[in-house]
Subunit: 461 residues, 2 copies
């Protein structure tokens, strides 16, 4: 029931707009991340496809309408509202930054322009869909950077925030450069490579380790990965070396991974298994991976679970969805909030990416002035998809390319410089509430005193 | 497709067990939280109903089987395995701690005894279902304690880890004592009270604040909550006071909530609106709530979003699912892991709760010896539900009662004493690998040297 999977106030507001004759107002909302979390120099936009699928499938079922009717909050709502909801389909226009694009605080990832009720109702679902995948993609890219070309597999489904989050974490991790995921549903739904061989329970389910290893080899052949540390990692590796080919390699899941890795490498090499790989797991994150590799640990692949699938060091983003324009009949307004920690700029925007900085402009400022690459593109027009969703493998390639093009100092795992996000003069002047922007009756509604008025650069944090 | 929403290795192991003639082995797995996170003196068990629903609905669809067949990991798997999966239903026995029970590190929340393949396959989904709701319930109870009888409403859907997590966060928060949730789907699915009135966008969608407030009052009557800070919280409150009854109260969402709260209270009281409530929101958590109330802020209700729905200070639990017994034909084994940071005790267990401490015993140790309250109860027998799911409101009452019965020092928001979890002598001696437990061929498989051998008390952290 995705239509009801929203905050109740979206529905009470919808009822109120309907009762106030505002069902035909057209609102523009922007979804952005207020500021980067600590430990992030940039974010990777993700989740757009699921957001668009939601918008296209949005509809209220009869039992959902009956439920709403039963609530005290709708006691004064006319029955016509529920008829209206029953027929509601999303008919708006959507502009978005493609998945896999590096983005920064204050930049819109998505712009929704739709009848006010529609634009309002979708807030909660859009935020959680996009913010979650963006959170995970932004964590995953750090793991990928730390691994320096070695493979990272997302292993976190069991620790993800409910079963629905697991496959989406796998998707977001893959588009940021992970090699694949352990989640089989993610494999089937999104065409992501899936990985997995055996747990400790496999080893303990047989009379001894050798039997368990022999059965695994019979099952998996060249895909065989022996989890060698169920009893003793070195003894387990000796057994793996004795069984020989076919195998992909061994996995270490406890203890000193660097020291064990060196010993395991020596044992495999001495057995003529130079091509066998070593995979490491055990509560890893990007820092631990970087430290392991800096210490020279001969590890070829990493499985990263809990910390990746929950983005443990930054488990949420300050994602907001704010009205920036409103058309009431012939009257057009720009809207914004200006409270000190909650700045939003009025007006639908475009982001232009230049070498080393971005420029935020109004969406319909004349594009010839700007040589940078525009990041927001139309994706839905009157509710219809403008082009097919890109293949996730293509998104993954584009992510890698876009990350490589970032200023090198942003690619550190530590917080380094703050990327410059500038604001065009027209947008500044609109934000300053003194614009004459050529629209019919531009009107700015501001909250508290505008603090960005004289500020040329809108930097996060 | 819940059957595929699992780690691939559960499926490769299932294939391997099938090929190795182990489809009729019977395994017992325990789901527990290895240790409490920092900032938690106890956890609240949650998510059992969704776990049982999953077990009862588990089945593989044809397209899922086709997908698995297409994977290289199953290249050597006989076709009979997929026929077997297609017919697979969960036929095991499950024992569980009721939802809403305070639990501690190392204690089993769930015991699954089933044919090995079935018991193995369900690991990932059970872990994410139970660990997530337990995470949120354990955070929510802290907010409820901090609020000292005032209302807490869960507002975090937009920041939850994907849309599927939002309703479950609302459920877990409610059973831990929150008054309700903003999530409408949670309201419909789980019968939880839902709350929500209007956002800032409501205010800015009208020509002025007064019009927006008047329309809201018309819509909501006595449920009206004015969000007063869109332009200026004090001016907004004066407007609310002027409009008078009907109203529930006002909501503050920015700035100094304590100072504003006092001013707002004064304005409402002077207008004869002593019964109007003040609700506060804005990135709250239990510490901020406690500080606000300690400062005497006259706030009647709190909306808690991001930090609650992501358990921001402890976004994951060390939830594990470990095989503790295995029956192969007539041969019965106890199984365990003993690596220093990953202790598990062999054997299916019972938890007895005494005043001030718990005792872990083997499940089938003679109960007469133990006067404490046994916490694990049979819930599924051969896949069939033994009794109806309890009403969530009843779970909520039980939670409040169980929390009130905890040693008072655990009810601090700071980390205080570590609750004692003791281990029965028979369980100790089994863990020490020298038990003769009266089963046919008891056999202990241990990993590394047992470190808990001489340890009477198994304390978390």
């Amino acid at each position: 029931m995705p239509a009801l999977n929203t905050d109740l106030y979206e529905l009470t507001m919808a009822a109120g707009y309907f009762m106030s004759g505002k069902a035909h107002d057209v609102a523009t909302f922007e979804l952005s991340i207020r500021r980067l979390p600590d430990h992030r120099n940039f974010l990777i936009a993700a989740g757009l496809q699921q957001a668009l699928e939601y918008l296209r499938e949005l509809r209220f079922e009869q039992d959902e309408l009956d439920y709403l009717r039963s609530l005290k909050q709708f006691a004064n709502t006319p029955p016509e509202f529920f008829d209206y909801l029953g027929k509601l389909r999303f008919e708006g226009d959507v502009f978005a930054v493609p998945e896999g694009t590096p983005v920064f605080g204050g930049e819109p990832l998505l712009i929704v322009r739709a009848p006010l009720i529609q634009a309002q109702l979708v807030e909660t679902y859009l935020l959680s869909t996009i913010a979650f995948q963006t959170t995970i993609a932004s964590k995953a890219v750090r793991c990928v950077m730390a691994a320096g070309g070695r493979s990272i597999v997302e292993f976190g489904s069991r620790r993800a925030h409910s079963p629905g989050a697991g496959p989406l974490a796998g998707r977001a991790a893959y588009l940021s450069g992970c090699t694949g995921t352990s989640n089989a549903e993610a494999g089937m739904r999104f065409g992501i490579p899936v990985f997995g061989t055996a747990a400790h329970s496999w080893t303990t389910a047989f009379a001894d380790e050798e039997q368990s290893f022999r059965q695994l080899q019979k099952l998996l052949g060249e895909e065989t990965v022996y989890l060698v540390d169920t009893y003793d990692a070195i003894e387990g590796t000796r057994l793996a070396a004795r069984l020989g080919r076919p195998l992909w390699g061994v996995r270490l899941d406890s203890g000193d991974l660097a020291a064990q890795g060196r010993e395991v490498r020596r044992i495999l090499d001495e057995a003529g298994l130079e091509s066998a790989h070593i995979m490491a797991t055990n509560d890893l994150n990007e820092k631990k991976i970087a430290d392991l590799l800096a210490s020279g640990a001969p590890i070829d692949a990493f499985g990263v679970g809990t910390e990746l699938a929950t983005s443990a060091d930054a488990p949420s983003l300050s994602a907001v969805y704010k009205m920036v324009e409103l058309q009431v009949g012939e009257s057009h307004s720009y809207t914004a909030k200006y409270s000190p920690d909650k700045v939003t700029l009025p007006g639908a925007k475009q982001i232009y990416r230049y070498a080393g900085y971005d420029l935020l402009t109004l969406y319909n400022e004349c594009n010839q002035e700007f040589q940078g690459e525009p990041l927001l593109h139309p994706v839905l027009a009157k509710g219809e998809l403008l082009e097919r969703y890109p293949a996730l493998a293509d998104v993954r390639r584009r992510t890698a390319k876009a990350v490589a093009a970032l200023p090198p100092e942003l690619l550190s795992l530590d917080r380094t410089t703050v990327y410059r996000v500038e604001v065009s003069e027209r947008l500044q002047s609109l934000a300053g509430a003194n614009a004459d922007f050529g629209c019919s009756q531009p009107r700015i509604r501001i909250q508290h005193s505008p603090t960005i008025n004289n500020q040329r650069s809108l930097n996060q944090q």
